[in-house]
Amino acid sequence: MDYSLSSLDYSQFLNMREELSLMLVILLVFVADLFLCKEPKDGESLSAQKKSPIAWVTLTLFTVHTLINLLPCLNGSMDTISAFGGMYQHTAMMTVVKSVLNVGTLVVFLMAGGWLNREENRVKRGEFYTITLFTLLGMYFMISSGHFLMFFIGLEMASVPMAALVAFDKYRYESAEAGAKFVLLAIFSSGLLLYGISLIYGATGTLYFERLRLAFSADSLINLIGLTFFLTGMGFKISLVPFHLWTADTYQGAPTVVTSYLSVISKGSAAFVLFTVLVKAFGADDLAVEWNRALFWIIIVTITVANLFAIQQQNLKRFMAFSAISQAGYLVLGIMGGTAQGQTALVYYLLVYMAANLGAFAVINVIEQQSGKIRIDDYDGLYNTNPKLSFLMTLCLFSLAGIPPFAGMFSKFFIFMAAFNAGYPWLVLIALINTVLSLYYYLLIVKAMYIKTNASPIATFRSDNGTRAALVICTLGVVLFGIMGVCYSYIDSLSIL
């Protein structure tokens, strides 16, 4: 094939609908941020402007983007779209995943309002939206990649701005520290990943996933090392044990809004990509045995270690970090065997996890903004002062723990069923035991809120409208995604390998 610029068919760009539309949103937000700010009057600093239309502009544009890309996904064409000689590949399932990420990002934006309106952040409101959307664009490319180069560019596009987000409260010591830790370890893992990719290229002479599938096998050590470094790089993004050590520190230090974004959007996209790449590029039978064996142990260690640590935590954000690590273990359970059922279960799990985790973070965030309290014992007696928030938090925690009839029970059920059918009954058993363990620490928070008493409880307050909207979306998700079987069957109808 001739890839020279002169023969490039520019109409191929039209295949990248989601990316183009997101690109447009980013540019508009960027420009709007430049021009919508009013000139500060004399003696008034920029940060004194309390209201700015930028939040509305972003929310509106992004909602439109989300809806537009939701619509074609409803009539679900099953064809795989391939552009630029196979660099860019797209299936209907990817539209679903991108839509899930879109909705998640929308919820994050909704709950970010209170934090961005603080005096120290007002001046950089626009930056938050732009940077976040850029990381999302990176994930889009990563999801739709058909070539390791494209994949790596997407990955870096998602990671580098993420470091800026983590350190967004740059004058706060913890935030800056978290940013530094994140960026250093991200570089380290990217280095390993890149090294792995170069080994793969050296061994086979190609980086196209489809050709790799034929050319790549488990017969040489170089191949296995390449595969391992790929796994570690993704393990870092998904925060699987033992590549998870940055997670707790970063989650704790980063602004809560960013933490929630990291824990759902970033993690979820990486898990889906891990599935796609493993099946597409490393799908050869003998190789599949190897990565299944590796993942088998990674999952066991991830879920168990994360649960053990979660029980110890006193800081709620650290606690959520370990909870998220353990949830990532369940998410990866869908990859085992690389079956179509596993893919469905993974995407469904992601959908449900998004609703529950973002809901919990929305509560944590609004309480942190209102009272600055973030320890679990601060939540003692929350029910007496803020009954509605406590109730919603309880729903989300129940869903995370997998208590019926909330969506989390269904998603766990389907992911266990997928792993079981793929031939890993023991893994499912261990995961089940861990689910029981996880119940303990999720209920600890519920106990704190409902049963324990507190001499100085968090005062009663009224949440801002953005948080309310976010909570409504999340609660609907937690309640409805499960009992509406149509969610699962719709995803299932799009599942192809």
């Binding site: 250093l184 390993l192 296995l224 796994l231 570690t232 033992p242 990674i298 649960n307 640590f309 110890q312």
Partner: protein, 639 residues
């Protein structure tokens, strides 16, 4: 065809909407508004149900039978080969049930305006009624056994909520718990039956004619009798078959309109409906087991009729009469020996008879209960001794009650005669023994019903009680449902029911097959029983009854105490199960199992403490562990 009936979805959605609305916002409405919302929703549901029936039975037959219609069926949870579906199935029996449920429920909604007037929690009451109606309708239109089970449980919950509606009264709480626990215990068998059935047949669907389903079911023929019998046990719990009937008399602690709706006309026939629904399987794969069901039914019918003869609480008499009548329906299903109506055989007559009796019984039993409600409303007591001579004060109640009594006793031309006669001829066709047993029980029915009738409306007037407060009829909201249902009772017998419902869908003209000799005999026996009851109980003084009671004190006391069955249960649960099984198990649980989990928790905690060194915060160490992890992974892959 399918699309014409899509409106039937509203039949389920309207009561659900009403329940959600009244449940969430009811406390903000006035009593009247809440009642109106519920009643209007039910009114629309009733109209839709009648419209469905007219449309359905008006549609052309294919091969002489009405074809089942599935307007909607969505796959709720797909699980590989099996899937849990939710949908609506219209066939002759479900359409008949729609009529029964919506009619009685609407009447009860109207009646409750008067009966529950001024009660605390009036809105809650209507919310629960809507919930119940929705669940019951969902149960009968279920397209598969799993959906049936879901709604079955919902029905159980709403029954529990309504029995315990007066939640400050101790007996009501105890009764609601008893009803819930006993039926749940039976439902456990139902669930096991469903799981066994689904495991072997790979389908839950009621579409037994579908080629693939039929093949799968035939492949599982060896397990079907077990599965079906387990499912029947669930049905026996809901339909109060001996010995799982003990909850029903206590359930009378609920408000009387609720007893009329749930514990007389609709929910308690769920078990009968379930057997009828699975009838093609029963008759083809488990005919012997089906006859066992018939004998269980016959014994229940006899037992309950005997107890009913000695009760003094009017609602309890009606409750035992309900048990006995439901058992009649069960017997009718159980005596079937074949699935087709052709060849002049009467082997499948029972199916039609059972559904017919279900229909007529719902109407006259609801009438009886609503009459009882009027009486209780008037004299503030359930005891027969507080009544007597009520015919002077409450003429409407008196006449409607009398007509319903004649119907249940099987006197022509009232509806009960026709349906009961079909059951008797089906029983005789199966075996003469069964036929005579059932005829005898029918005679007992006439006797205890007229004992009740004379005890309430004739006999000695309790002047002491009445002088303080002269009993009178409730307003039109209470009398209208009585009259409406009585009209049903009067005309229902002339509905050509066999043409609408029969085992294989072929029109069955039972008048052509009518056995005049049998009809005359059963009628005569009923008349004799009534005459006997009149002789014993009509007078001011009742010397014969007193003498009988004195002559057989033991028997009377046993029957009055319901043959001490509740005491047996009490003994078995408390003395045997609690003491000798539960206590050791509790010890095992507390010391061994809890000990293990405490150990696990302690171990987890200690381990967590030990390994926290990994999470040091030092970034060099993180990178080191990262690399170490990668190397370990490589080794895992190589080895």
């Amino acid at each position: 065809m399918e699309n014409q009936f899509i409106f039937t979805l509203l039949i389920l959605l309207l009561p659900l909407a009403s329940f959600l609305f009244l449940g969430l916002a009811g406390h903000k409405l006035s009593h009247k508004a809440a009642g109106l919302v519920g009643t209007i929703c039910l009114g629309i549901v009733a109209v839709l149900s009648y419209y469905t029936a007219i449309r359905y039975f008006g549609s052309p037959r294919v091969d002489g039978a009405f074809q089942p219609v599935v307007p909607i069926n969505i796959s709720w949870l797909p699980l590989g080969k099996l899937s849990f579906d939710m949908g609506i199935l219209l066939d002759p029996i479900s359409v008949v049930m729609l009529i029964v449920i919506s009619t009685v429920s609407l009447m009860v909604h109207i009646y409750s305006f008067g009966y529950m007037h001024g009660e605390r929690g009036f809105q809650r009451y209507y919310a629960f009624l809507s919930l119940f109606t929705m669940s019951m309708l969902g149960l009968v239109v279920a397209t598969n056994i799993f959906q049936m089970y879901l709604f079955w449980e919902l029905v159980g919950v709403s029954s529990y909520l309504l029995i315990g509606f007066f939640y400050t009264l101790k007996p009501a709480i105890a009764a609601s718990k008893k009803a819930f626990i006993v039926t749940r215990f039976a439902d456990m068998f139902f669930l096991i039956g469903i799981l066994i059935y689904g495991f072997y047949t790979k389908t839950f669907s009621f579409d037994f004619t579908d080629a693939e389903n039929a093949r799968n079911i035939a492949g599982a023929a060896f397990i079907l009798p077990t599965a079906l019998f387990l499912m029947f046990l669930g049905g026996a719990g809901k339909s109060a078959m001996f010995p799982l009937h003990i909850w029903l008399p206590d359930a009378m602690e609920g408000p009387t309109p609720v007893s009329a709706l749930i514990h007389a006309a609709t929910m308690v026939v769920a078990g009968v409906y379930q057997v009828a629904r699975l009838f093609p399987l029963w008759i083809q794969y488990a005919p012997e087991t089906l006859h066992v069901v018939a004998w269980i039914g016959a014994f229940t019918a006899f037992y309950a009729a005997a107890v009913a003869c000695a009760q003094s609480d009017i609602k309890r008499v009606l409750a035992f009469s309900t048990i006995s009548q439901i058992a009649f329906m069960m017997v009718a299903l159980g005596v079937c020996t074949e699935a087709t109506t052709g060849h002049g055989h009467e082997g499948s007559l029972g199916y039609m008879a059972s559904m017919f009796h279900l229909f007529t019984h719902a109407m006259f039993k609801a009438t009886l209960f609503l009459c009882a409600g009027c009486l209780i409303h008037a004299v503030h007591s359930n005891e027969m001794s507080m009544m007597g001579g009520m015919r002077k004060y409450m003429p409407v109640t008196h006449w409607t009650f009398l007509i319903a009594c004649l119907a249940i006793s099987g006197i022509p031309p009232f509806s009960g005669f026709f349906s009961k006669d079909e059951i008797l001829s089906a029983s005789f066709a199966y075996s003469p023994v069964m036929g005579w047993v059932m005829t005898g029980i029918a005679a007992m029915t006439a006797f205890y019903m007229f004992r009740l009738y004379y005890g309430i409306f004739w006999g000695t007037e309790n002047k002491e009680h009445h002088s303080a407060h002269t009993p009178h009829e409730g307003g039109w909201v209470m009398t209208f449902p009585l009259i409406f249902l009585t009209i049903f009772t009067l005309v229902a017998g002339f509905i050509p029911f066999g043409k609408l419902v029969s085992a294989d869908g072929q029109a069955y003209d039972f008048l052509a097959h009518f056995d005049w000799k049998l009809g005359a005999t059963s009628c005569l026996i009923a008349l004799v029983s009534i005459a006997l009851a009149t002789y014993i109980y009509k007078g001011e003084k009742q010397p014969v009854a007193d003498r009988l009671q004195a002559a057989m004190p033991r028997l009377h006391k046993w029957a009055y105490k319901r043959f001490y069955l509740d005491e047996v249960y009490q003994y078995v649960t408390h003395q045997i199960i609690f003491k000798h099984i539960s206590k050791p198990l509790a010890w095992f649980d507390r010391h061994i199992i809890d000990g293990f989990f405490n150990f696990l928790a302690w171990g987890t905690h200690e381990l967590g403490f030990e390994i926290r060194g990994f999470q040091s915060g030092s970034i060099q160490k993180y990178a080191f562990i990262f690399l170490l992890g990668a190397i370990v992974l490589i080794f895992i892959m190589i080895l």
